[in-house]
Symmetry: C2
Subunit: 345 residues, 2 copies
Amino acid sequence: MTTPPVATASQVRSTAPTLEAVAAKAGVSRATVSRVVNGSPTVHPESVKAVKAAIAELGYVPNRAARSLASQQSHAIALVVPEDTTRFFGDVYFASIVTGINRRLEQSDYLLNLMIATHGPDARMLRYLAGGVVDGVVVVSHHADDVFVREIGDMLPMVFGGRPALSGLKGHVVDVDNVAGAADATRHLIAAGRKRIATISGPMTMQSGLDRVEGWRLALDEAGLEPGPIVHGDYTMPSGTRAARELLAIDPSIDGVFIASDLMASGAQPVFLDRGVRVPEDLAMVGYDDSPSALNCEVPLTTICQPSAAMGEEMANILLAILAGDTDQPRETLLPTQLIVRDSA
Amino acid sequence: MTTPPVATASQVRSTAPTLEAVAAKAGVSRATVSRVVNGSPTVHPESVKAVKAAIAELGYVPNRAARSLASQQSHAIALVVPEDTTRFFGDVYFASIVTGINRRLEQSDYLLNLMIATHGPDARMLRYLAGGVVDGVVVVSHHADDVFVREIGDMLPMVFGGRPALSGLKGHVVDVDNVAGAADATRHLIAAGRKRIATISGPMTMQSGLDRVEGWRLALDEAGLEPGPIVHGDYTMPSGTRAARELLAIDPSIDGVFIASDLMASGAQPVFLDRGVRVPEDLAMVGYDDSPSALNCEVPLTTICQPSAAMGEEMANILLAILAGDTDQPRETLLPTQLIVRDSA
DNA sequence: TTGTACGCGTTATCAT
DNA sequence: ATGATAACGCGTACAA
């Protein structure tokens, strides 16, 4: 074989030009080159020009390790995923949060480290974080282990994606306005003339589950309507199927239902249809998430769209601001949802 | 407010014990501590004990930046995703590859950097990679941009997940044995006594699409059976629906069909059922992927399970071996698939 | 505005 | 087996 199977790391590193080289070529000192690289304002325009030319010519790239060592900053942030990966990455919601985070990071020179805690967050990850591998942390998960998140928040700037059910933890939170979203969904049902409006909720152990019920109730109160029956699910499709049967058993007279996830809604709809309950004529449905499954229903779902990419972007944005020294970032940021009207209501 | 909203990075770093501190406490020199940390065999057991005790007591964690600077290695590898994130992360297949990569990396002290090229891989990412941020690269994607991958392979050890359609590129490849998987699927149909076996293929622009057709043909040849009709799809559900109609039009006498993705199979099955073709009585179906959609079909799909997590693990494994100095890792590694028998065949 | 010089925490070489 | 000591590449007082 004439060509080596792979490049060796040393090939690259050995030829990498340093500050020193740039300085020599530009006819200035290392310090001046460093200033130019870091955008210091106190440097002569002419020097800037010379240095920039030298940098371009040599293809100089600052050595990250050296920079970190000297500046005591890693210029990297960690994306901490405290649960099983497949569950996390399989979820489109999380996928677009990551997209958003990346979108913001692309505009900076921060690196994103993936830290997945397959077997639950362990001491090893904590030690890594304590070792200064990253300057800040972004935590994304529905269920985050209590003590784990607390420990991270104690040692590093942290932004939490989706308000955790635990209270009093350090760090910032970016979340979707679940209450407003659920209220909007319910108002849409009310505007359509529905009078007896039920809900299939998410788990009451999750903040989002709680919030969406609150929004539903809020809209009903506003309109002076009596809350219909409420059945609890766990966001999954089968739980939606079960809940639908229960709902019909409790009160067959309902004419509207707010379902806290599209997955549950797509599990529920066939039940309604099978029993001869027409959608939306007899029963108007509004889901939540704007997931692909909303479109695959026999009667496409009217639903609430969450700005998940924007959420990721905002999370990164806040963390970057903190790292830049901004001390008064909002502790909690709520992002607005959007009603997507389709056929089911 | 009595407690600050977040910890500051300096809090952590300022208190982090160094090699120096450990050395002092253990009554040895920095060099000896370094040897212990890096597992050098040439150090007195007694010293080892003292050092380890000091490390534990102080909670010492090696400073990554300093180590990188001195050793010329970042002890990090990059996960390069050359396409749009949502598309990538939404895919369960990729999700479990990441899981696998992480599983292997957990056993090492390598970090995983996420490098996503939303707008196509740009010069910025290439510069980063050239700057020595990582020691090696893992590329995961069906469609990887030609020149991009080539450039990476030229400067860093690289392992490719899923054999790319382009040939002659540097780097190692780990892939699922698509030919064998398709052949197994087809053999299962043959063993069930099917004589007229068709296939709905993936796109002929992808290596996997090509390979699965080859496997199908191979099994047929082995059995001395004439290949049935072949219709091309693009792995998506709608394309499966279209292909099924076409297939029935071409040859209604088929009694077996190998479909190159579960998604296409779940698009095709309703067509067969609607036309009164019973599954599996009249037509036996075998899909590919073992995706969730295989279970959601009216007649649950017999399918081929890809070892995607194992694939990720092997990718990381090979890269780590290369970084450890192993020069004769296999250029191409094929992982075996598994037949999952359900109701459709 | 610019340069000098020291420090960042490790690894690695060379004596001992 | 162990301990000085010199890199590693960069940031940054401090001085000029």
